[in-house]
Symmetry: C2
């Protein structure tokens, strides 16, 4: 059943019922085999909180290891590890205290809380699905609402809820007007109650506030990247979508600091030939779907803003497909202008298709200088970079010299304010005044701090453009930020890896996760073929050699039938099974192909390690060892 | 200077001034090289919060990898990963809501908060150190207070503060009476404000609440262990001791579940021959110091309560010394009876000596059935294990059969309450009633739910001991819990690894961290001996091979003098330096011995990997390759 369902889900025509049945099959297996456990289950759990049980925890740890290897080690990134507890001022600077909100409505009688956009969305969807008598103008209206849902203001949302007579789903009571609810978990630092703090909603701010030290650590050279893996928190109003929208999750974030005037990347050539599904703005606006685009071309044509952004998009593609994400159900979608923050230069999401639809799993944004500037402004500490010129450069610079004597005589006690107002003129304003003074001899000049205009005469200020030698350029670096939702990636990976196959007797379907060896929670099992003290001894020797090679494994000498043991371990995605059928050599069976090879006992641990570490593939190994054709099992 | 200081610190006679100078030297290096950064430094930081900068983060990640390898993989532990946000009911059951407190006093005018015991401790210490005129009876009194400080109640502490006239340290204002302050960071889950939650103060509870699922996952077999690595939080009143007492930290905890009637351990023999510093209760009480004790003997003699506890003590010893903790400054101290929770069977701390004194870094406790019982009581979900007997066993069991007819006639509507009260009698009570009924025919019987006594007659209940066949035993497992403060271990490791040596010119001291290769943040550096395009190319080829072998490294082709480059990398503890001085072979220099060997370019990455992964030691490698005696450098 699941196989058919999966086929249906992959194709675009999959009905939502089929998708849900497929998801249920996956989630049942995940929960039964403890990949996940609803947290605090014996106390009836808490919505949006999940534990990783043993195999889930191992998968997560493998995914993070690969992430470190693929990104941090490959690019010599500076990894940091900052606390989750964050004082208010940091999140005030970043904008989270004021803007990290969702619109909420309350049941006016019971006080139950709902996300306003969810209620409107559910209403529109249900109408569209169930009411076949809907006039076409109404259909168009509801579809339009669904399209612009994320852009509606509190007032607009409130008006729509009223217009459609939407009430509280559980009680049918009237609802309050929508108002913003901040999604950060709030707490208090120290005993006084006077230092508000929050559990960080992302790990990025910990990197930004350390820019100065990290730039120093990197020998004052740009570009460089810092990275952080850690917990982030989001106090969702009403978590839905199971494992995809949770209240606490692991993020892995990279902040790549680069000169805004040079966003080229020396290693872009390594990824330029990749071709994969992209969904640029124009395709979305013209109602087309994502299509295969060459990465090099996308950057050349300006579809992707710059090489560095393109480089990371390529690297993210390689990372995800390496993990086992199906490349047919992975696309890079560009943000539409209205989705992007005003400061962002460009932004692409790696979206993975699963039974919930296309899910944003990695965001890759060119955030320009926004974050460093925000913290410079709030902290007063200048977060900038320097470029020392090989030769001093001659530049024209505006020089404004107020004549304090003349100004003092004219404005007495107000002199200081006038001087300051003159000194902060920008180039255009200054040159305008200069021209006016030269033509008319005086000009009316507004001094904000005085709240009035004064008359400036030619003798009171000298304005000129002078040539100066400059030795360096001072600038705020741009930030290119790939940000990975690790839990979402893992959940999608579970769906993409799941399949079923008939058991030999064909009376039931067996579940399999086809994890690549690198990701698999347990790399291999060791089974004696038959109950025998000799074989048990060999199995223990092999287990010991696996342990000292650092290979996670299960040894099972209980004597259960081999077929059952395979079924049990296929279901947690163990890629290799070692069967002990002699005292000199053993067979290794690969999970998906069921192919078997024969390997000597001394070599077996190093062979498994080679494939598990990703140094060789199963196909490589098949070449080197004799295949074993007599099937051991009812499998 | 630091070398001398270190010698002083190691010996017992070290003055506190020397210790502080040594600590300052270590901490300066740690902060300058970004092992640590005070969090949110540009906003003047938050007491008790620190970031790990790049080398610190790498050390932490290496320590955790080794922990996983040494504990989780070696024992096939079930690793889980639970959220930090925890609902109140869980921490109510564990006792943290009621008891996880420190006693606090407030400055009555400014509201500033202080830990009451800190103020009393500081007062006593200062008096003892500075007042040489103190009569001996007073000296004894103050020393006694320091000894029992942790056991003082709020009232006793308050009385002492008053008696000694202790005021607020900054303002000399009067202080409030001491009162308990809960050290958990509180928050609110969901938007309603009605679900209080806390940031977990330890990771253990996440494991306990999952006992049932984990026991199932382990095939209903005991013993088994679960493990968790994660953040924990403690809202300290006024953090002191720098990096040792922080508000957010990484814990690694193991909960080993075992049959309380059989705490033997099959692998105890593997550690029984270890001999190391132990500090059992008797030695502490008799004023002696820790001494070398054989682990097997300690368990045999009952100094350590049981084999499983002994096994973990041995494994912790191996883990810490493997990391590079000096075994002369590591001791296992047994808790005194007044330190232990009433339910604990035995408890030992791995204490590491550093400039702050002996610091508790790992706690290894036999917590008996306490935690599982607490969650069983609170949740109503039975957290127990079963032992199926090979043969059914005959046991005598109490059988209470109330006669509903007689009781109904006698008590009408109250019948149900009387029946229930009879059914929950324990064996002693029931047999007492049986005896009374047989001798007197009736008995007065208190029914709590009725709030009164009733008269029970012989005809109303039959009480007997019957022989029954039992097929299994149901019991609450005991928990043996090794709990690791990862940050504290790392800080002590930094102190134990730090030393200085003179530079060639002897005008300054160079700092070195002698991290073992497994722990070192960067495994090797690659330097061309002289500025040359050919050598630069070779350096890049080597860097590429290191990268694909997963070896963290620094390549430096800036042409700075080799001596300076060594000094810079010794200071972050890089164990190996590869110097490119030809196009066919290179030299590898070991950090502490400064010995060099010559290795061909093709082999260099695999050689470094071998030592960095701990498969070979430098001594092994020295045997295999020619030594290179001509020193390259002013080193």
């Amino acid at each position: 059943v699941a196989k058919r369902l999966q086929a249906v889900v992959s194709s675009s025509g999959g009905g939502s019922g089929d998708r849900e049945a497929f998801r249920q099959a996956v989630v049942n297996t995940l929960e039964r085999r403890l990949f996940y456990i609803p947290s605090f289950k014996i106390y009836r759990g808490v919505a949006g909180l999940y534990d990783y049980g043993p195999p889930g925890c191992a998968v997560k740890s493998n995914v993070l290891s690969l992430w470190r290897q693929h990104f941090v080690l490959e690019e010599n990134m500076l990894e940091v590890d900052c606390p989750c507890v964050t004082p208010e001022i940091v999140l005030k600077a970043s904008g989270h205290v004021d803007k990290f909100t969702d619109l909420m409505v309350k049941d006016e009688k019971t006080g139950s809380c709902y996300r306003a956009d969810h209620l409107l969305k559910d209403f529109c969807k249900e109408k569209l699905e169930k009411d076949s008598t809907l006039p076409s103008v109404k259909v168009a209206e509801l579809k339009h609402i669904l399209a612009v849902l994320d852009d509606l203001s509190a007032e607009e949302l409130g008006a729509k809820l009223k217009e459609y007579g939407i009430t509280a789903p559980d009680t049918k009571n009237p609802l309050s007007d929508p108002y913003p609810f901040n999604l950060m978990f709030q707490t208090s630092i120290g005993p006084s109650g006077l230092s508000p703090g929050y559990m960080r909603p992302e790990t990025a701010q910990g990197i930004f506030v350390n820019f100065k030290d990290l730039y120093y650590y990197n020998g004052y050279r740009l570009p460089f990247a810092a990275a952080q893996i850690g917990q982030a928190f989001r106090n969702e109003i009403s978590p839905r979508q199971g494992l995809l929208r949770v209240r606490e999750f692991t993020l892995a974030e990279i902040e790549h600091f680069v000169d805004p005037e040079d966003k080229s990347h020396p290693k872009f050539v390594d990824v330029a030939d990749l071709e994969f599904l992209m969904f640029p703005r124009e395709l979305q606006l013209s109602g087309e779907s994502a299509k295969l685009i060459d990465l090099g071309e996308a950057v050349r044509k300006g579809t992707i803003n710059n090489e560095t952004l393109g480089y990371f998009i390529g690297r993210v593609y390689l990372f995800l497909t390496h993990l086992g994400i199906d490349k047919e159900r992975l696309r890079f979608r560009q943000h539409l202008p209205n989705e992007m923050a005003h400061y962002a230069a460009d932004c692409w999401d790696a979206e993975i298709e699963c039974s919930y639809g296309w899910i944003e799993c990695v965001g890759i944004a060119d955030r320009s200088a926004y974050d460093l500037r925000a913290h410079t402004d709030k902290s007063g500490v200048s977060l900038v970079a320097h470029e020392t010129y090989p030769e001093p450069r001659e530049v024209e610079k505006l020089v404004i010299t107020p004549s304090k004597k003349e100004l003092g005589l004219a404005f007495k006690g107000n002199q200081k304010m006038v001087v300051e107002a003159l000194e902060v003129l920008n180039q255009a304003e200054a040159l305008e005044i200069k021209a006016a003074l030269e033509s008319k001899g005086e000009i009316e000049f507004e001094v904000c701090t005085l709240g009035k205009s004064v008359i400036i005469k030619k003798s009171m200020v000298s304005i000129s453009m002078e040539k100066k030698k400059e030795h360096q350029r001072v600038f705020t670096p741009s930030v290119i930020e790939p940000s990975f939702g690790i839990g979402r990636i893992i959940y999608c990976l579970f769906e993409h890896s799941f399949y079923t196959r008939p058991s030999k007797s064909d009376d039931e379907q067996l579940n399999v996760f086809r994890f690549p060896p690198l990701v698999a929670p347990i790399k291999c099992t060791v089974f004696p073929l038959i109950k025998s003290q000799q074989f048990d001894e060999v199995a223990k020797i092999i287990a010991r050699s696996l342990r000292s090679a650092g290979i996670s494994h299960i040894i099972d000498i209980t004597g259960t039938s081999i077929g059952k043991r395979y079924a049990r371990t296929d279901e947690i995605g163990v890629p290799f099974a070692i069967t002990v059928d002699s005292t000199s050599s053993v067979t290794i069976r690969e999970r998906d192909s069921k192919e078997q090879i024969r390997v000597s006992i001394d070599e077996v641990a190093s062979v498994v390690k080679e494939v598990a570490d990703g140094q060789s593939t199963w196909a490589d190994i098949m070449w080197r060892f004799p295949t074993h054709s007599a099937s051991h099992v009812d499998d």
